[in-house]
Symmetry: D2
Subunit: 344 residues, 4 copies
C-alpha cells in the first residue's frame, strides 16, 4: 500500500503516520520527492485495507498495490478452472457452455417445445425463470415451484442440466432441489447475503455482472461465493448501463479477456440481455466467442408474441439453430469444444 502525503504535510504529521503504521504492525519506507513525500507500507495488505489510513491528517491518498480479491485471482490459481456441470457438459479451459431457453417458464408444453428445439440446435444447458425480478410490481412474477418442477423434468428428460435464477436467500433451499446451477441476476450481484447462501451449496453459480459493476466488483462478488467454500463460480458479462439507449445495455466484451487475465474463473457472454435486440444477438454471440468467452447465454422463444416476459428480445428456434451452426464453426476455428449434453 502506498500513502501519498499532501504537499504541505508537516514532519509531525509524517511522524504520526509512521507511528500509526508501526502500531498496526506494518513496516514503512519513506520516499521524499521534490514536491511530495510518499510512504510505502509493507505487510499484509488485506488487513491494511481495513484501516482508515486516509483519515490520518496529512494524507492525500492511499493507493492499493494488490488486488482486493484472492481466491478468484489468477495469482491464486494459474490454470483455468474447468467445471463439470453434469450430463457430459463442461465449462472453462476451452469448453463452451451453450445456455438457451425462454426468459420465463410459462407452462409445460411451451417450455418442452422450446427445449426440444434448442437441444436439437446444439444448446447444452436449459434455462428458464421461475422467479422473475421485474421492475414493475404489476408485471408477471413467475410460476415459482411449479415452474421449477417443469424446468427440471423437461431438462433432465432431454439430458440437459438446468439453470434458473434465485433472488432471495429464503428460496435457496427450494431452488437447490430442482436446479443444476444457480443463476444470480445482475440486480443481485451485490446481494451479499444471497451470495453467502449459494456459497454454502454445492451447485455451480452463474454470477451475472451488475449494471454498473466494474470487473473488480464482479470478482469481489465471486469472492463472496468462493470464500463460503463453493469453488464453482461462472461469471457472465451481460452489458453495463450506458448513455446510448439504442441498445438495452452496453455489452463490454473487453471484460472477457480482462477478467480472464485477472481470474481463473470461466466467463460467458449474454447478448440477449445486453442488447435486448434480436437483430444484434447473432453478431454479438460470435464476437463473444472470438473475445474468448467460455459460453453463450441466449433467450429463445417459439412464440415471442405470447411470451409473458421479454418476448421481443428472444430469438426464434430456427434463428437459434442457424446461429449455433456459426458458433460451432467459430469455436472450431479457435480450438474450443462444445459438448453435446446427455451423452453420459
Amino acid at each position: 500500500m502506498i500513502i501519498v502525503l499532501k504537499e504541505n504535510t508537516s514532519e509531525k504529521e509524517l511522524e504520526h503516520i509512521l507511528e500509526k503504521i508501526n502500531e498496526l504492525g506494518f513496516r514503512s519506507d519513506v520516499s521524499r520527492g521534490e514536491k511530495r513525500t510518499v510512504v510505502g507500507v509493507i505487510g499484509d495488505e488485506e488487513k491494511l485495507r481495513e484501516e482508515p489510513l486516509k483519515a490520518l491528517p496529512g494524507v492525500e491518498k492511499v493507493i492499493s498495490v494488490l488486488k482486493p480479491y484472492k481466491l478468484a485471482s489468477r495469482e491464486f490459481q494459474r490454470e483455468d478452472s474447468v467445471f463439470d456441470l453434469g450430463y457430459g457438459v463442461k465449462v472453462g479451459g476451452g469448453n463452451l457452455m451453450m445456455i438457451a431457453g425462454p426468459c420465463a417458464i410459462e407452462g409445460y408444453d411451451i417450455l418442452h417445445e422450446i427445449a426440444v428445439a434448442v437441444k436439437k440446435a446444439g444448446a447444452n444447458v436449459l434455462r428458464g425463470g421461475a422467479f422473475k425480478p421485474r421492475t414493475s410490481p404489476y408485471s408477471f412474477q413467475g410460476m415459482g415451484e411449479e415452474g421449477l418442477k417443469i424446468l427440471r423434468d423437461i431438462g433432465h428428460s432431454l439430458g440437459m442440466p438446468v439453470v434458473t435464477e434465485v433472488m432471495d436467500p429464503r428460496q435457496v433451499d427450494l431452488v437447490n432441489r430442482y436446479t443444476d446451477l444457480f443463476q444470480i441476476g445482475a440486480r443481485n450481484m451485490q446481494n451479499f447475503n444471497l451470495l453467502n447462501e449459494v456459497g454454502q451449496t454445492s451447485k455451480p453459480v452463474l454470477l451475472k455482472r451488475g449494471m454498473s459493476a466494474t470487473v473488480t466488483d464482479l470478482l469481489m462478488s465471486a469472492e463472496y461465493v468462493l470464500s463460503n467454500g463453493n469453488k464453482r463460480v461462472i461469471l457472465c458479462e451481460r452489458g453495463v448501463r450506458s448513455f446510448d439507449s439504442s441498445t438495452r445495455n452496453l455489452l463490454d466484451l473487453a471484460a472477457i479477456p480482462n477478467s480472464k487475465g485477472l481470474s481463473h474463473l470461466p466467463i460467458i457472454v449474454d447478448p440477449s440481455h445486453a442488447t435486448g435486440r434480436p437483430d444484434l444477438i447473432p453478431s454479438m454471440s460470435l464476437a463473444g466467442i472470438a473475445a474468448g468467452a467460455d459460453g453463450v447465454h441466449i433467450e429463445v422463444h417459439s412464440h415471442p408474441e405470447l411470451a409473458k416476459s421479454d418476448g421481443p428480445q428472444a430469438l426464434l428456434p430456427h434463428q437459434y439453430e442457424e446461429l449455433c451452426g456459426k458458433m460451432r464453426s467459430m469455436a472450431e476455428l479457435l480450438g474450443k469444444t462444445i459438448q453435446v449434453s446427455g451423452k453420459a
Copy 2:
C-alpha cells in the same frame, strides 16, 4: 400506447396488428404519415404494457404515453406527502429530516458520544449500520442485533427516531423490533423481495437510489413498497456511477426537483455516500437543500481514524455542527422547517 410501424410494413401486417389489439380488448387509431404509419392504442395502459406488442411483425417501436408507476405518482396524489417519524420529527411538505451518525455501529460508548454531538448540533434522526453491505467478504460486516439494541437505546434515550439498513428479507422482523425507519441501501434498490417485505411493515422506508438507477427506476421501486400497503416511502438521492473518479459517485441534484415533479414522495440527499469526500459535503448539503431536498443524510464520526467502515468520508462533530448552522439559515431562507426531535 403508440405503435410506430416499420417503413415497409405491409397492409396485411397492419391488419394483424389491429386484430391483435382488438382481441386484447383495446381500441386503435391509425395515422398514416408520409413515410411511417403510427397506431394509437387506447385502453388500460397498465395491462397493455404486459403484452409483447413489439414482437409483432411490422412493429418498429412501442412508445408508452403513461408513466409505469401509479401510487407513487403526482397524478395519484397532488399534494406532498408528509410523514410523522415520531419524537416530533416530520419529513415532507416543507419539513426537513436531518439524519446523522456513524456509518457502522461500533460500540455503545462511541455511538453515544457521536449521538450526543449530532443531537446537539441539530440532527433529528440518528443513523448507524448493524448489517453492512461490504464489497469485500473480508471486511467488517457489522454488529448485528447487538448493534441494533445499542442504536435504539441511545436514540430513544436522546429522543431521536433511529434508522438502520436492512439487507435481507429474513432480517426484516428483527430490525423492525429496534428501528423507527428501515433503510434500503443503493445495492438493494431492486431487491424486490426485500421491498415486498418492508412494504408489509408499518415503518417508514428510506429508499436509496441505486448506482445506475434512473429516477423512473427509483419510483418503480417505491411502487413495490407502496403496492404492499406501506404508504411511507422517503426517497434518497446518493449519487450515480460516473466516469470521473475524483468523487465516489456523481451526485445528481436535479433528480430532486425532477422526482418532486413526478411524485408526491419526500426525497432527501446523502452527500456523504455521493461524494465520499468530507471537503465536498458542506457545499453539497447546502446545494441539496437549495435544490429542494426534504432532508440531509450525513455521516459523522468523532474518531474517523478508528472507524471500522468509511471513516475517511465522515465529518467530525464540530464540522457537522458548523454545517448545521448554515443548513438552518438556508432552510429559513427557503421557508422550510427543521423540527427539534424529542420535544414530544
Copy 3:
C-alpha cells in the same frame, strides 16, 4: 412526428396546437386515449424538427418517428457502400481495411522500420500522426508537415495508402496534399466546421466516434460530411467513456451491427484506443471482425519504450504479425476479403 399532450391540456390549448400545425403547412390526426390525447403530425419531418413544438402550451413531449439523418441512412442506400482507397485496397461490402502504424510519426527511420513490418504482416493502410491532439499542452504535439512528407513517402514507396489525423480546418489543404484518407479524431467528431471542410475534399474520411457519442450522433456527424458532397465516410468504433477504469474506454462492439443496420457506411474497429492495453488488443480485434467490422485499426511500434506518444498501448511488430494471421483466418471463416495493398 407525434405530440403527446399533458394530462390536463384544455380544448383551447389543443386548438392552438392544431392551428399552429396547420399554419406551418402540416396535417394532423388527433387520437384521444383514456388518459392522454396524442396528435400525429404529418408532413416533411425534417422541416418539422426545426419547429419548437415542445414550447407550445399543453405539450408534454414530442416524439420523432423518422431518423434525423438521411444520406447516411440505409433507407437512402440499401446496399453497403464500398470505397476504393487506392493501391488496390477496398473497404466495405466484405472488404476489410487493415490500418496499422505508430501513434505519432517520430522520424523517417523509425516509421520506415514499422511500416515495412506491418506491410509484411498484412496491413494494407499505413497510419501515423503528424498533428497530435494531446490532453496536455506540455506533451509532444507532432512533427507537422515534415511528418506528413515522411508518412506519404514511406507509405507510397511501399504501395500503401496513408491516413493521418487532421485537427483544424486550416490544416485541411496541407494534409490533403499528403494523405490518402483524412482521419477525424474522437475529440473532433462534433467539430462541425472541420467536418464541413473535409466534406469538401475528394478524399475518404475516417470518422471516429466521440467518447460520449451515441450511434445516432456518429451518423449525424457523418451526415455533415456527406451533405457537403463527400460520399466516402468510414466510421470507426473506438470505445466510449465508462465508469470502469480498467480499460481506457469501453469498446462498444454492438455499435458495429447496430450502425450497419441503420447505415450503408463501412465501420471499422480500433481496439488500440478503445482498450489502451496491448494484452486485450488481439481478442478485441478478432471480436471486432466477428461483430462485422469492415476493418481493424491497430497501433504498432517497434520500440514502445522510446515512443513519444501512447507507446505503452502499441503492439510489437511480431505481435501484430501473429494477430494478422488469426485475423485472416477469421475473415476467411466469415467470407470476408483482405486485399494486399500495392498490387496495382
Copy 4:
C-alpha cells in the same frame, strides 16, 4: 511518480528500469513489499510524464503523484482569481456573473426585447449565439457576423459585456472584434487549436466542460489557454452525459467545490444546457449558487414558440426575473456580490 512492478518481475528487469530512470536524469527509491516492489521516481514530474515508463518490461502500472496541470492549480496561485469583465462586472472571489440571453441571435428586435428584460431582472452579461454547433447539418447555423454586430450593439448600449461562442480558429479574429468574452462550447473543450487561438487574445474565455470530461480534463483544457498567456479563464459546469434521459445531461454540482479546491479559476453553472428543462432551472440555479458557483448562465427567450434553437428549454423573461430575486437572496445569505452592470 510511482512505478509498481509486476509480481514476478526479475531483478534484471528491475535493474533495467533503474538504469533507464537514471539515464533520464531522475533519482529512484526502491521499496520491496511482501508481494510487490514499488519504485519511487524523483525529479521533474512534468518531464517524466512524457516518458513511456509503462512500456518497460516488468512494469505493472505507473502512478502520478502530482497533478498534470500547473498554471490552473491552487498550488500555483493560492487566492481565488478575480476577473474584471468591463461595465463594472467582476467574476470570482465572491463576485457572481449573471449571464442571460437567447440561445441564438435571431434578429435585432427580438434580441433587444430579451436583453432589456434580462438586464432589468438583474443579468450583468448578455449572451447570444452567432455561430451554432448544431448536431444536424440541416438545422439553423446562426447569423454569423451580422448577429455579432447586433449582440455587441445591444449589449453595449445597455451597458452589458457580451459573450458569444467561437467554434473555429478561423473565426477568432472576427469574433474578437465584437465580443467581450469568448465562449468555448462543450463540444470544443478539447479542440486544442481553438484553445491555443483564444489563448493568444486578451479577452476572458468562458470554457464549458465537455460532455464526458473529468474535472481534471477541464483543468487541462484551461491550461492550454493559460499556457498561451491568457490568464482569464472562467470554467463552466454544464452537465455530463448519463444513462438517465429524463434530463438532457447530468448536472455535476460537486464539480464546483471540487474544481475550486484544485484550481484558483472561477467556475459558473449552466442549468439550461445541463437539464434542458425549464421546470428544473430555478432549483438548479439556486443549488449551483449554494454549491459555490461564481455565476449562473441561463437561456431566456420572450417567444420560445418562435425560437430557432433550443426554444423549449428557455425561461420566459418573467420567470427569469422571479428567479433573479431568489438568486440575489441566496447570494446575500452566502456573502456573495452581484454587480449591476453598466454602472461605470
